[in-house]
Subunit: 348 residues, 2 copies
């Protein structure tokens, strides 16, 4: 499991540059095959940057050795990149070399109440400016999300009610410096009114409590009944409008329509719940939401991939010329189409 891997490299003072809600059950091969993103991509970048090498078994049984552990290697095309995010359709990843950054000595987490989404964007901008190199996560959730996770799972929010909440995490090498930066940042946000309430968790146990509000959100939505899950990337300028439009469109036909996610990476989790599955609700969401996302050149799948269900929607985020090339590449690696068939690529 990825968590076991992180514990292992921790013994050498390092960390896996990837942190997922599913870290207790997912495996690194799968993480690479799906180009998993997670909570700290903002700081450590995507797997396209941190995977140094890999070994994959191809459809014809060839063991493809791209397993160097070098940070720099410009000898030919970087074909290992194709496996990152290919969801097992080009080969099975059997080994991975990944660059592990130094494990931070000091981690702090702030939970903030922010009155508007415009405010969320401004606070994120100020965090980049003032926290700079120690900013390691910038998440947001709306009040409907907070209501769901506290109400459905009986958790408690330490803050007074607000339209939006942000989790801002810092990771650094010097506790004193980090706390000073964070305190200065919070003081200035509170004094100019961008943030109306806030709490800082320094103890690991307190941090875990705060993270639960964000990490158990997906679980809490399932308590409502059925959950329609969307994972889209959008420019920040129109980011939360997706939720507002969808909420208006769905009205009282749903239990709730919530927005949360990796605002620091432009990645929105827009989820809708109903008591049970409703085709009528589904028809209101799709393809409307995909069309809306495409209009702003967003991605209809930021980190979850296309799999079986979304493969025929690839055209909302990729040009036909790009899809044609993907088909040709699939043909190169797996001419018989035996690897994870009916996934990722649309029918021709």
């Amino acid at each position: 499991m990825s968590e076991a891997l992180d514990n292992e490299v921790g013994k050498a003072g390092l960390m896996v540059p990837l942190d997922l809600g599913a870290k207790g059950s997912c495996h690194i091969g799968g993480n690479v095959a799906t180009n998993a993103g997670g909570l700290r991509l903002l700081r450590y970048g995507s797997l396209h940057g941190s995977v140094l090498g890999l070994e994959a078994v191809l459809a014809d049984g060839t063991v493809l050795d791209c397993l160097t552990a070098l940070k720099k290697d410009n000898t030919g095309y970087d074909i290992k990149q194709l496996f990152i995010g290919s969801e097992g359709t080009l080969g099975i990843i059997t080994k991975v070399a990944i660059a592990c950054p130094t494990r931070p000595k000091s981690i702090n987490l702030a939970l903030l109440a922010v009155p508007s989404f415009e405010g969320v964007i401004n606070v994120f901008g100020k965090a980049k400016e003032n926290l700079g190199e120690i900013l390691s996560s910038c998440e947001f959730m709306d009040n409907q999300s907070m209501d769901c996770v506290t109400g459905n799972l009986n958790l408690r929010s330490p803050l007074s009610s607000s339209s939006f909440y942000m989790l801002i995490e810092t990771s650094g090498s010097n506790t004193e410096h980090d706390e000073e930066k964070l305190q200065h940042f919070l003081d200035s946000m509170l004094s100019n009114g961008m943030v109306t309430d806030g709490t800082v968790a320094s103890a690991p146990s307190k941090q875990r409590e705060v993270w639960q509000l964000r990490e158990r959100l997906a679980e809490s939505l399932l308590v409502d009944g059925y959950c329609y899950k969307y994972d889209i990337s959008l420019p920040l300028a129109v980011f939360y409008q997706a939720v507002i439009h969808m909420r208006e469109r769905l009205g009282s036909s749903v239990v709730r329509c919530v927005g949360y996610g990796h605002v620091g990476d432009g990645n929105l989790h827009l989820n809708v719940t109903t008591k049970q599955y409703s085709q009528e609700v589904m028809d209101l969401i799709e393809p409307f939401l995909y069309e809306w996302t495409a209009k702003y050149r967003g991605s209809i799948s930021a980190e979850h991939g296309l799999g079986f269900k979304k493969r025929n929607y690839i055209g909302f985020s990729k040009s036909q010329a790009a899809v044609n090339i993907m088909h040709s590449i699939k043909q190169v690696f797996d001419p018989q189409g035996i690897l994870n068939p009916y996934k990722v690529l649309p029918d021709k």
Copy 2:
């Protein structure tokens, strides 16, 4: 030019996550096509991580639009990655979207004298530990390199003579914190004897002076006459042995054999000079150096690419299965072989 681009994004408080000696003459399209590395890859990662999207014109005239500016997008294979480092053999890059980090407010540069290469590795390890998130560059040069740049270009080193020198740069958001971290790091390195002499440049003009010693090295080598240039990646444990072996092998047949480069990224520039080109010297270097590099699973071209001269040496760093796939990919993008012919890929 990349420098003009950096100045432009600087107006928005951002920076281009790439810094090259050639920044005054290179262009961003070429940087991406060659997957340029440079002095700050250690901090900002490779272009495979920071290029968000690109547009390329293919051999048949198709304009391939992969120009999203999203940090996260898992919709199909990430085909833009193939263009990064393909040296113009798969298509011509015409537009690029690149993630630009916040421009640091505080930059410091230390030049250190280190008695042994083992010491260089140790100082790098301590820099990662103590400077952590503000470390933005870690370069080294041997005393033969320093002799060359000072002697041939009439520059002055501010340090007493030493076997090795390191340039350690920090970039951060808080001047006071950064200076405290760097000072503490230097004090501990000087007091334990890992570093025997050192100077810190805070003023930009002083920093430019110190960077000249590293950045004008390639230029200074040409003053000797002819320069045989090698750009290899190696595991740090055997990194400098490449220079020692080569120096022994070449003996007095050359003017000098020097080692310098991006030690923080495992990237060695091993350069040899003679008064004029000598086939005898060339035969002593190649293929010996490539074989030696391959023995340690290094890369025979860390950041300079294969081009025309090194394409038939690709087998020293890539498996035959990988090369076969590269040929197939070239066939997909450019079946007539009209794009930058005779480059990157070996004859079949």
